[in-house]
Amino acid sequence: MPPKEKVESTEQVLQAVILADSFDERFQPITLETARCLLPLCNVPLISYTFEFLAVAGVQEVFVFCCSHSDKVKAFVKNYEKTSNMKINTIVSQELMSVGDAMRELDAKQLIDTDFILVTGDVVSNMKLDQVLEEHRARRQADKSAIMTMVLKKASPQHRSRSVGDGSLFVLDQGSKECLHYQPVKAFKSTREDRRMTMNMEIFDKHPEVQIRNDLIDCQVDICSVEVPALFTENFDYQDIRADFVHGILTSDLLGKTIHFHEVTDVYAARVRSTQMYDAVSKDIISRWTFPMVPDSNLQVGDCYEYRRGLVYKEKSVVLSRTCVVEEKVVIGANTQIAERAVLSNCVIGKNCIIGANVKIDNAYIWDNVEIKDNCVVQHSIIANNAVLEQGVTINKGCLISFKVTVGANTTVPAYSRLTALAEGEEDDSDAELISDPAVVGATGRGRSFTEAEGSDDEDEEEDPKNKQVNMLAFDMSELLLAAREQENSASDFESEASDLEEDQISPEEELDREVAATLDPLELNTLRMATFSNFLEMRKRVIPGVLKHIDPVAKPGSGKTAKEILSRWGPLVGKMIHDVDDQIDGAHVLHRACASLFQDVAQAQKVFAPALRYFYDEDILEEDAILEWYHSKRSQQGTDTEKKLREVATPMIQYLEQSDSDESDEDDDEEEDDEDSE
């Protein structure tokens, strides 16, 4: 290399920014007590892997942004810096709520003056970045508008290190290495937008040949230019770096910036974004996919793991009893004692743990100083520091047991429980006393079950709860579907019960009913609604039957009483009571029930129901998604015989809907309508 270049390259300090906070609550309740980036992954704090990854990439200066539990992160970083040749700065800001805030903070402090690497504090990767950096710099030299290079790893769509709920879809130009479109992929595609990839047609004007990729792992390793933080400041509503920033830049006509990508293969890269990914990445580390970041390379000072046959890693000081069985894929930390006849497989056990006799541990992650007494069974769960399982405890899969929880003797903890020992209304050192819940942790236990809502001001409420569950440890798709259905059932049961009660007790409701039937005028109805403080849900329950009552199934056309005539007169009114998809689904249910209860004769009810459903669909009062959802819900499948028969009437229509849903182009729609008519 010529000397001149050398001088230049030493002048330019390679900087990296780590976003240590994850800005989500997936690891709660564990993350109530410590920072996400300090969680031990195979007995090494998560952020160490990120530091290691950056050090290998040749980074000289690192800025760590942290928000929650910043004192702990700061202390750890200070300690870590002693053994590292990188300069590590910690930036603490309590106001950070999102990646966007962190970037704005970065811009405000003017810490960065060259291109930098932006990563999150939970990246585990063994890729080298020199080639990416080179490409990025060359591109920058040629074209100043190329502001960012994303590093994407190729994998199959169902790859385990591609977390199910956080998929992403990229549209790329392989020629210019430009990213043209980004779209997140949800596990449960509840809306039409989720089920389709949609991009702007204009993209094809500039890029006639594009590649759509649904097989990339996006571990959010980005090479950013200094403009990136500035753009975040300019667009103060940007929160997420992908959904907001990348999407915003790519769809903006004004900014004229481009985002590029670099595809890597044959390396390991993953983010520990959820408990499920925690599980997957741990397995990958144990199976040595992340080499050289494996337990026996002893990333942490003081560790001294040795690597044994069957992917077993063991510290020297571990005490194994003579009859215990250590099967494959096990990591055991220092000073841990394993008693007689314990069986360990596919698990990580921290330092100073005591594992009793006859204990069975499978697929579990047991952190430091945990005591598991005799005859316990632990499956597919995470148990945090200083937790105690008394004798004969069974922990079913998917549990998160937070710090210092004690589970009393002979307790069975149900699957997917989350236990914490923090008092309610916790937040650090408040004086509130912990009220243990004996139902959960047993009579002698210490702890309570943790519910999601507490301590979190969730901003994305619209998100489907099912999509959240997908990221849970040991989740099982089929189980989840089942659970979701049951939930739906119980919810609807509750709802109908509640409304029954109301109707019994409150006479104004009945009055409303009568008035609705009498007036049927949108304006008056609205005032009526306000007068009686009822919501649209209640209104629908009354208005729809009110309208249906007017229909005379045996009336002749022209008499003004047929289903068609009544509906075309009053249908739009019903439409006014229906606003979003949930309303539509509920509307379909109400219509279904109302038809069944109003008309005793099944044939008559069918005669009203079928055209009504059809009419609502044609008028877009009920959209296709809502009708499908209604049809497939358990609630519609149960009920009286009349209701069942009514549902059958809708079957041809559902078939038609599903058919048209599966059809790609509109061209076929006309024919389908013909088909439908002939049916």
Binding site: P157, M197, M199, M201, I212, R213, D215, D663, D666
Partner: protein, 443 residues
């Protein structure tokens, strides 16, 4: 095992259409049908015939429209010198390509190749056929990226170009998506997610063109017949191929349009290769995992796309501009004697046919001249195609023109970017630009 008559692997069908894009050149009364239009003084159809011959196909059916059949029949009977067994079928004029195929349904006994008479390519046939042989799909279709035109007559009819969006799975070159831009939303491009999870790496291109070269399974002819019953002027490109592509993942559509049913004839007679694979212990059983819950549904259709590499020449003479471009390209690379009479000034990238007379001080550049052309003195021909029996008088200038056979251009005329119809007489001292000079009655 009973004695079996040798069945050829593929039958080939050449579609010799009317050539709407080539009017006025392809007018039979005055000139010749599209299939016989000269490219480097060879009829266009001779190129696909030669291509098929080198691919090893022996039986060829030429399907011609009634209006052009006489001259084409004569050519195939008397003039054509190749080794192929050619039989000619004549169908009515207003016939779509699918309809035309449906007419000759009974003649199709094996898997069949469908090729258009206007496809010229330097692609070695075995590359294309081998893809079909190894993958065993329902249909293999050829796509190519058109070469950029160097200018010339664009054809006065500036037809609005319909671009096609072609989606090909990058890992196994399965043809997954096909849509014409005129049928699509102009604002948004949209695809189903389920399609993308089945084909995680998909290339979408707007540049690729359908080469009108397909290999179909035998059973598809039944489907083609069915499609052409339902529609008038059913075409392979616009109706059959999109239907097959969609049937790959849309079960209801496949059932409704009779694709599944047609494909079942195949199931009762599985190919020997599939049978061999099923016996194999090393071949994993084919699993069609499907999130939509129809995992039992065995996909009846598999479409493959063969994309011609960029350095291999491929083109279709389906418009005047393309015809001109193809002619220029093939003139450049032909190994025929360029100037048999060694008269006048003839550029290295030009070709002069037999018995053509060039007057003094005549120069020919980047042009193709047919046989028996009579050219006067001081004539300049640049960038043009002059067909047989044309007379060019003294001091004529042609630039970017196509002059059909039997035309006469009188002295001192100057034509630029014009098409001159067959037998047309251009009066002297005519100056024209971008015009179509043809007999009045056919307009």
């Amino acid at each position: 095992m009973p004695y079996r008559k040798r069945v050829p692997e593929f039958q080939a069908v050449i579609m010799a259409g009317y050539g709407n894009g080539l009017i006025p050149l392809s007018d039979e009364k005055n000139n010749m049908p599209k299939a016989l239009l000269p490219i480097v003084n060879q009829p266009m159809i001779s190129y696909p015939l030669a291509w098929l011959e080198s691919s090893g196909v022996t039986d060829v059916i030429v399907v011609s429209l009634a209006s052009g059949s006489k001259k084409l029949g004569h050519y195939l009977d008397r003039v054509y010198e190749g080794q192929l067994h050619i039989s000619m079928e004549i169908v009515d004029d207003n016939c779509g390509t699918a309809q035309a195929l449906a007419r000759i349904k009974d003649k199709i006994k094996t898997d069949f190749i469908v090729i258009s008479c206007d496809l010229l390519t330097s692609l070695p046939p075995h590359q294309f056929l081998d893809m079909h042989r190894s993958e065993d799909p329902t249909v293999t279709a050829l796509f190519f990226e058109p070469n950029k035109s160097e200018g010339g007559p664009s054809g006065s009819s500036k037809e609005t170009e319909v671009t096609q969006f072609v989606g090909i799975d990058a890992t196994n070159s399965q043809l997954v998506y096909l849509n014409n831009s005129d049928e699509m939303d102009t604002e948004e491009f949209s695809l189903r997610m389920s399609l993308l999870s089945k084909h995680p790496v998909m290339n979408i291109s707007r540049l690729l063109q359908d080469g009108h070269l397909y290999i179909f399974k035998r059973w598809v002819i039944d489907l083609i017949a069915e499609v052409s019953n339902k529609r008038t002027r059913a075409s392979i490109k616009e109706h059959v191929l999109p239907l097959l592509v969609k049937s790959q993942y849309q079960r209801l559509l496949a059932d409704r349009e009779g694709v599944t049913q047609a494909a079942q004839t195949l199931a009762s007679n599985p190919s020997t290769q599939a049978y061999a694979l099923s016996l194999s212990t090393t071949q994993a059983a084919e699993t069609t995992d499907d999130q939509d819950g129809n995992s039992q549904w065995k996909n009846p259709v598999k479409c493959k796309a063969f994309v011609v590499a960029k350095d291999v020449y491929c083109g279709r003479a389906n418009s005047i501009a393309n015809y001109f471009e193809l002619n220029r390209y093939y003139t450049k690379i032909t190994d025929q004697v360029r100037n048999p009479g060694a008269q006048g000034q003839v550029g290295a990238d030009s070709l002069v046919g037999d018995d053509t007379k060039l007057g003094d001080r005549t120069s020919v550049k980047k042009s193709t001249l047919g046989s028996h052309v009579t050219i006067g003195k001081n004539v300049k021909i640049v960038n043009s195609i002059v067909m047989d029996h044309v007379v060019l008088e003294d001091n004529v200038k042609l630039d970017g023109c196509i002059v059909c056979s039997g035309a006469k251009i009188c002295e001192k005329s100057g034509l630029k970017d014009c098409e001159v119809g067959g037998g047309f007489r251009v009066e002297k001292e005519t100056q024209a630009r971008n015009e179509r000079l043809v007999d009045f009655q056919e307009q």
